[in-house]
Symmetry: C2
């Protein structure tokens, strides 16, 4: 089989503070993986054809580590409302519609098309409580060769009737979901209690057991909002902190764990998350839209924690990860006003969070180093003027739109970017 070879200005972040720039170089892909980067093609590839992308950038695709597929239509709606009103007016009625498989098909197709056209090549995705719709979401993602953790959401309390599951049924459908997908190459099932508030202790217990039994990762929400934290305390009076609830039921680091938000955390909680190798997901657009607060991202980085980035649509208002990259930088600048010891995040650090930082959840993903999954993007210049590759990247991240993405490769396969509508 012929290797796939792309030529252009190649940039990635092997480490948070380092952009690695290879101008006018060749990226060689063998099957699904990066073989290497060369200024000149080595002898063995010299006869192979290659795609010459000229002055365009070649960068790793984005890893969106917290996003709600059924909330696509909500992007930007009801952002003047407080959290609980927003959930009741927009989110729950929308998620309720996913018992209808045809409705799910329309939205999930659109979601996946937009996700890919936005340059996201890997994601950790919440579905809904509905098993058929969540299976469909996986089918559609697998069809596109899209690397994803997908969760069937579990909720057996504190939600409207039409979104509540019977505890036993919730566990049983989750196990069916796991069994259907556990051998899949691109889709990994992920245990997804919505959050401690919407799950009884027996449900959390059973979900922790499933995670153990099948050695599966876990995703949920943690320390997003002060009212939420107080409610968790009330529901689980024997757990000293919110994270302790998940820990108690083997849902915090016993297997790889993504926890979205982690805003209201003190040094002890940060130390716990570090000890349990948790991957916190910074969702800056969501956190600011819902007035949740500012995550102390610098403290997580200083502690050497595996910080990642997420769009969190619909509370986040955009699937296009560069919006979250810029928002993360901007929030860190504001955070420094009141916490002068916390330096702002740099462009390379946030680019790293959005690529290799999240990609680590899959092993070698989110970078263009040898052996990594060949998930990558080709970016056109936003201006007709010639910029250095790094300025070109900065302009794309700060000023670009999905329109500037010329090509998306998913595990070495060129994706069709024509709109789904």
């Amino acid at each position: 089989m012929q290797p796939l070879i792309l030529k252009g200005n190649i940039i990635f972040t092997p480490a948070p503070t380092t952009f690695s720039v290879h101008a006018n170089s060749f990226l060689v892909i063998e099957k699904e993986h990066i073989q290497g980067i060369y200024p000149q093609l080595p002898e063995k590839y010299r006869a192979c054809p290659y795609h010459d992308y000229g002055n365009n950038l070649i960068i790793p695709g984005f890893c969106d580590m917290h996003t709600h597929a059924p909330q696509l239509l909500q992007c930007g709606l009801g952002m003047d409302e407080p959290l609980l009103k927003w959930l009741a007016k927009y989110t729950f009625p929308e998620e309720g519609k996913f018992h209808d498989l045809e409705y799910a098909r329309t939205i999930y197709r659109d979601f996946i098309a937009r996700l890919i056209a936005s340059g996201t090549t890997s994601a950790a995705i919440f579905g809904t409580i509905h098993l058929p719709a969540t299976n469909l979401l996986c089918d559609l993602l697998a069809e596109k060769n899209f690397t994803a953790f997908v969760g069937k959401v579990n909720m057996d309390r504190n939600a409207p009737d039409f979104l509540l599951e019977d505890t036993q049924n919730s566990v049983c459908e989750t196990e069916k979901f796991i069994q259907k997908w556990k051998q899949n190459k691109v889709i990994t099932p992920i245990i997804t209690p919505r959050f401690a508030i919407s799950c009884t202790a027996p449900l959390l217990q059973a979900l922790g057991e499933l995670a153990q039994k099948y050695q599966l990762p876990v995703q949920s929400h943690l320390d997003e909002n002060e009212a939420e934290i107080a409610f968790v305390k009330e529901l689980f009076p024997n757990c000293p902190t919110y994270d302790a609830v998940y820990k108690r039921y083997h849902l915090l680091g016993d297997t790889p764990t993504l926890m979205a938000h982690c805003i209201h955390v003190d040094e002890n909680i940060i130390a716990n998350l570090k000890a349990h190798h948790v991957y916190p997901v910074h969702c800056p657009l969501s956190n600011i839209n819902l007035s949740s607060g500012i995550m102390p991202a610098r403290r997580f980085l200083n502690a050497g924690i595996n910080l990642t980035l997420g769009s969190d649509i619909g509370a986040g208002n955009d699937l296009f990860i560069p919006r979250s990259i810029v928002s993360a930088i901007q929030l860190s600048k504001i955070y420094q006003f009141t916490h002068p010891d916390c330096a702002p995040l740099s462009l390379s650090e946030t680019f790293y969070l959005a690529t290799k930082g999240g990609g680590k959840m899959w092993g070698k993903n989110g970078s263009l180093e040898s052996g990594y999954l060949a998930n990558c993007l080709v970016i056109k210049p936003h201006s007709p003027q010639v910029l250095s590759p790094l300025d070109h990247l900065a302009q794309f991240l700060y000023y670009g739109t999905p329109k500037d993405i010329q090509a998306v490769y998913l595990r070495g396969k060129l994706s069709d970017l024509s709109p789904s509508k």
Copy 2:
């Protein structure tokens, strides 16, 4: 002459807290002005053809009240740098290039094409110190029927040599600029001292006299950054505050005055700005990118001040005003964390700032009320699903891109949106 008639879902903000929604209605334009909105066409127009935009929105075009045309290429570059390094490394070398008229033509054409394609239909624009390039900017804007205040920038100290003017020459060229444009229908010359730091007292004095002599508006920067404020204090030891410097030279409210930023202001300064009928320009993207601070926008609104909105590119990273609308809301939510008495800005308030709030500088502009300039946009749905007109608007503002703008009318004339590159 036939009236121009557009049919669609019409939305505008007659007041900051009110969206006026006219679903499936007719917008009648006579020459350059809105004649009226009708659910059914009145008898006299019944035989006229009209453009049926179906489910699309028709909204006022955006008024960008602070933007630097020569900084287009800088969007998103150097945002990790502190202000002074950013100015020295990016802004000044870039502005220096505008002595070359052909360079200016390339950039200004691109700037205007992007401005219009982004849905901005009126703007207050900084040029550079160069008279020929600034005249060219006006020519190119006038060609497009674009309503603008345009300023030849004045600087006679504290800038690199290649951007410094001789004081007398600066005044003389400014007067030539005024005389060339003072009778123009769409372009209004505006007195534009860059800021107090870059202008000597004699230059400010002469500029104040020109503003008086020709009864022209003024634009500049005020209270953006603490180091800047301290430097102004040092340069003008006899003025108790920064705003007092401009006031002393008749550059603060003796004629209509736009002042960008106004971040570090106390109640006395706010009262002064109110008393002098100043239009402060909120530039949220710039303020956050340069870590300048958060403007107390709610305090300005509470004081009944004419607050407006600006992109401030290149410190702001996007010409597309919806990015500034959303950023203004987001910053106001963060501001409330530390100032609980300041409620966040609502979507209607920020939409008002971006349209009628800024438009007031021209009289009747920035709304779709009868008698207003016919500057308006047609917006396609971002999702294939049918939303209410207000949800459609919210989704466009939060999640849209310039691609969602189907048509731009500048003073009743349909604009060509094909890219300039």
